[in-house]
């Protein structure tokens, strides 16, 4: 495989485009330029770091290094989920609900895919395991963050309706059922849209990357289909799990609605 290597000059040109965009948003007072520049800088630093880490990891492929990196990725993703909540659960639950759901779904799907579908040897070979887990975690994270945010916001707005049903003797699950369904739907919408648009509206990133790197298009397509399905399953199961856990946490053992378990988050 032969890729045309990019020079620092090429990257600087692309960066200049983002800076130009930031200048424009500052000019028209949209208040986005700061976040644009900061996240742009984060992209550069984080990707350079992960490039170094992956380089080292590929040279010393050991299961415990792979597992360690996977745990770091998970804990950062868990933090991201928590910080995107308008209202989040107080205490460890704020971090725990999203992280545990991501752990179960993203890790299970990754391990399943590595052992039964892709089958590198050893099965945790970092060149396959880390990018796969990364794609799964990234998408699951978005689904769970959207789902939980929708759940807690709507429960907060509709607390009196939920309680009206409790007063009539409905169980907690019935009382929050509609809200839970809507929350799960909003978590799953992005990936459903992505599947529907794949190939026609957008060429998915991984496939593009593989084609640029010289992989035959049909091989890249097969990988992309596999990844799409894995991401859908991971996001779906993760979001359903997180929304269910979250909705359960909104009620106590006497099925009272306990919105005091939420506290204002930083929102986004």
């Amino acid at each position: 495989m032969n890729v045309i290597a990019l020079s620092p000059w090429d990257l600087s040109l692309a960066a200049a485009l983002v800076v130009a965009l930031a200048a424009l948003t500052a000019r028209i007072g949209m208040g986005l330029s700061r976040s644009l520049l900061i996240s742009g800088a984060r992209t550069v630093i984080q990707l350079l770091l992960i490039g170094l880490v992956l380089k080292t990891l590929f040279e010393n492929a050991q299961l415990y290094w792979v597992a360690g990196l996977a745990l770091i990725m998970l804990s950062v993703a868990g933090y991201e989920v928590m910080s995107r909540q308008g209202r989040r659960f107080s205490g460890w639950w704020g971090y725990g609900i999203g992280t545990s759901a991501m752990f179960v779904s993203a890790f299970a799907v990754t391990v399943l895919a590595l052992t039964t579908m892709i089958g590198p040897s050893p099965w945790w070979e970092p060149q396959y395991a880390i990018p796969l887990l990364g794609m799964l975690l990234g998408n699951t994270m978005t689904g769970i963050a959207l789902g939980l945010d929708r759940l807690t916001q709507t429960a907060w707005q509709q607390r009196r309706v939920i309680e009206a049903r409790l007063m009539m003797g409905h169980g907690w699950g019935e009382s929050i059922g509609q809200i839970r369904r809507d929350a799960a739907r909003s978590g799953l919408m992005p990936i459903i849209n992505a599947m529907a648009a794949a190939g026609i509206v957008s060429l998915p990133g991984m496939m593009t990357g593989q084609i640029l790197a010289g992989t035959p298009p049909m091989e890249a397509v097969k990988y992309q289909i596999l990844i799409m399905f894995l991401i859908t399953a991971g996001t779906g199961f993760g979001t359903l799990g997180a929304v269910w856990l979250g909705s359960k946490r909104l009620f106590d053992d006497r099925q009272r609605l306990r919105l005091d378990r939420l506290k204002p988050g930083r929102g986004k």
Partner: protein
């Protein structure tokens, strides 16, 4: 109907505490309507919510001799039924909130035609919502009615209809009611014992 002895205790409350309420002790007897009054902020609504087990609370609450902890929360709220001052609805049409096999006698007694089941909830006035919510609540056949100003938005004629319905229900089923009312004339009509909340505590008013 259930013929229970008139002096039987339906609800017994000992040392009930919730946020800003308590300790509160009282009992309600079968067939009894008790008036509850007190300035706003005295904790009347919080007391009713605690009795319906909607807010965290502690203390002993006993229904027909059975301790609350031994009754599932959903059953508890069906039997110790709370009617808030502004009842809410969750479906689009009125009828979906009622039992499909229920009869229309209570609807008619409160001045509604059976077609009210097809009405959109959005178009109900606050008084209609209050009256319909009482019918909705009675379909669960509760043992205790916790009524938070149930006639606040009603004209005198409709208020009397509601009073008659609650009184009939309570005496027919050997149930009991705790009725929050600020209207002195209505309080006179209701009669019975009068409980007063003051800064989260309860006392019985002697005539």
């Amino acid at each position: 109907m259930d013929n229970l002895p008139a002096s039987q205790t339906v609800l017994e409350v000992r040392g009930l505490r919730a946020a800003h309420v308590g300790p509160v002790d009282f009992r309600l007897l079968a067939g009894e309507i008790c008036r509850l009054s007190g300035e706003s902020g005295a904790g009347k609504t919080l007391l009713l919510r605690a009795l319906a087990d909607l807010d965290p609370n502690e203390g002993e609450v006993i229904l027909d001799g059975i301790e609350r902890a031994r009754i599932a929360p959903t059953d508890w709220r069906r039997q110790v039924a709370y009617l808030p001052a502004e009842p809410l609805w969750w479906e689009e049409r009125v009828g979906l909130h009622f039992r499909q096999d229920g009869d229309d006698s209570r609807l008619k007694a409160l001045g509604f035609e059976p077609e009210v089941r097809n009405w959109e909830v959005e178009r109900l006035s606050s008084g209609e919502r209050q009256r319909l919510a009482l019918v909705r609540l009675l379909e669960n056949r509760p043992r205790v009615l916790l009524l938070d100003e149930p006639t606040a938005n009603l004209d005198p004629a409709n208020s009397r209809k509601v009073e008659r319905m609650v009184r009939e229900y309570v005496s027919d089923h050997g149930a009991c009611a705790l009725w929050v009312s600020h209207d002195p004339i209505q309080r006179q009509r209701l009669g019975g014992r009068s409980l007063v909340m003051e800064a989260g505590r309860m006392r019985e008013e002697t005539p």
